[in-house]
């Protein structure tokens, strides 16, 4: 069965220890996680976790059922392709001498990003977007020399 990327959105109790329950379960069951983000929601007693897993259909069912077995997990939803908006935030420190700086600023703005910081020899580029867009941005930055890169992982909401 073909392995694919799936986005799972979970509502969980906003208690201490819930993140370790979820991450512990995922690692103990041997599921492959691409990213996991967690933040509070409009209800301060509830957090939302967005989990991106690489799994075939059967494994995905297992992940969902196992997550739902956790008492602190209130709801588990798979977000289907095209039915949700997803974003992540990227920060990248890129080598930039005088001439490259303008070019990098142009590239960043093409991707709806900007220079978050500019130093003597490098700049920090900030951009948000869906995963594929940010992947493309990274490709464009690579020739300049990326010295540090961080991405938040995916957050998603259904449309």
């Amino acid at each position: 069965m073909a392995s694919e990327r799936h986005t799972i959105s979970c509502l969980v109790e906003n208690h201490f220890g819930v993140l370790s329950r979820v991450s512990g379960l995922i690692s103990a069951r041997g599921f492959n996680i691409d990213s996991l983000t967690v933040s509070t929601t409009e209800d301060p007693t509830i957090s939302r976790m967005t989990i991106v897993v690489d799994a075939d259909a059967l494994k995905l069912e297992q992940v969902k059922h196992q997550l739902y077995r956790l008492i602190d997990v209130i709801d588990v939803q798979e977000l289907r392709e095209g039915a949700f908006i997803d974003r992540e935030l990227l920060l990248a420190r890129v080598n930039a001498n005088g001439a490259a700086r303008a070019e990098l600023e142009r590239v960043a703005s093409q991707f709806g990003g900007k220079l978050a910081d500019a130093g003597d020899r490098s700049v920090v580029i900030e951009a948000s977007g869906d995963t594929k867009t940010l992947d493309r941005l990274v490709e464009r930055l690579k020739p300049h020399g990326i010295t540090k890169l961080v991405r938040t992982g995916r957050v998603a909401l259904e449309k």
Binding site: V12, R21, E61, R69, I71, V73
Partner: protein, 582 residues
Amino acid sequence: MKGAQILVECLKREGVAIAFGIPGGVNLPTFDALHQSPIKVILTVHEQGAAHMADGYARASGKVGVCLATSGPGATNLVTGIATAFMDSIPVVAITGQVRTSVIGNDAFQEVDTIGITRPVTKHSYLVKDPRDIARVVREAFYIARTGRPGPVLIDLPVDTTISEADFIYPEQVSIRGYHPQEAAPTIQLEPIRRAAEAIANSRKPVIYAGAGVIHAGAAAELAELAHKARIPVTTSLLGLGGFPETDLLSLGMLGMHGFEYTNYAVAQCDLLIGIGARFDDRVTGKPDSFARRAKKIHIDVDPSSINKTVVVDYPVVGDVRQVLRELNKLVGPVDTREWLKTLAEMREKYPLVYKEKAKVLPQYVVQQISEATRGNAVIATGVGQHQMWAAQFYQFNKPRSIITSGGLGTMGFGLPAAIGAQFARPGETVWDIDGDGSFQMTAQELATAAQHKLPVKVAIMNNQHHGMVRQWQDLFYEGRHAQSRLNPVDFVKLAEANGCAGIRVEQKDQVRPAIERAMKTTDRPTIVEFMVEPAENCWPMIAPGKPHDQMLGTYENLKQDGGIPQRRRLSEDDEAKLSLG
């Protein structure tokens, strides 16, 4: 009211009559409050014993078992017992002491991250930081432990929460927004049940594979109705033993790694496998993709995560087993299984259990004798190993909650403490621990607990001076190199006497039954019967790990040539008559 008193009030309201544990630094307030309550607290020798006793109590009674330990080593000693209960879905509430909230995380004396250590082996856990939360937490813990797919729940109580004052407000209702167990569901889904009924109607060679879920759900009567109404034979997993009487003509006994030969053939040949409250464990399925490969599969289970986990099924039905079976029974009628039952009856004759007489006492014979002496009415606890499989094969289980054994985790040392817990749950009944010398020694210290309470627990130690199952695997798969499988001889009669128990040693076959009878007559203290059994005896038949069900080792064919004597299993008199009529 002090936190510890709130805890005790809540335990009383949950109907807790007995708890097992050991006091220590930070749970003294809890023990002190319990001491002034009607709840009986059994001091164990080791916390592992407390956890297994709570587990054995729960398995024998169907109620929630309770164990208590202090922080640090007390809590870590419980872990094996909690994990054992978790793997077999047993409702246990473990209450651990914790260092005071202000020093948590500071590596305080006897501090350990109990919640962290037990997270993967509990259904849920709570670290209480405010005495006002105790009542709600205890209420929720018992609710979670016994509902849905049952399991252990841990409550970690820092000492300050047990000595500070709070108002006692008992929550009459439990409402957990992330937990909706199946039996609380107002309706069950009928469509999957209808489709399962259709598959049953269309089958000609169906087999029911029943697990412990039948027993947990109290659905033995509903299972029997389904089997008889539709005329479907029933095999059970190890933990499902007793969920369907083995004296029934439709009983196929246990399947799996050490299941009966003809039962495994039946599973290999069936055209419909109906899994009920069972989880397709690897000891049952062998190689999962060849398990019942000719069969469509129905799987009825309370836990959706059990379905399609190891074996992909065609007709999943999620729900409380008893509710589902009641609905299913309305829809099924007699299935034409005459040919199939005839084939199975022939296979039962053709491939019986078998063993060859040896000079020394055989453990299989001992189990047969215990089965006969108790007429299959005892509660049987076991350790883990060869003796466990012989108990499963040669004891005739007819009633739910009559086998108390560690199936999933395979915890050696489970037998004696579990038997003690079971005896507390069912004081008037005969409880035997069928054990091995290796398994028994892992928790033998609990003899003192049994003696202190004058429990008439009976222990049959199959003393072969080996870790017998390990020795068997070494002979089969490691060219007979017995790495660390031989045990130093122990005088178990002296050990019994040292603990205030009766001790009997049996060295000859003709002493077996009298020793069992003597143990049965001793009701004022525990009795240890040490059977000096044949050390080289192997447990047959066997599906080697990862092999399909129709390629067993130690089959009747193999052993017959070696002088093996077939062992007839007893059916009820009615069924004997039916069999002889063909």
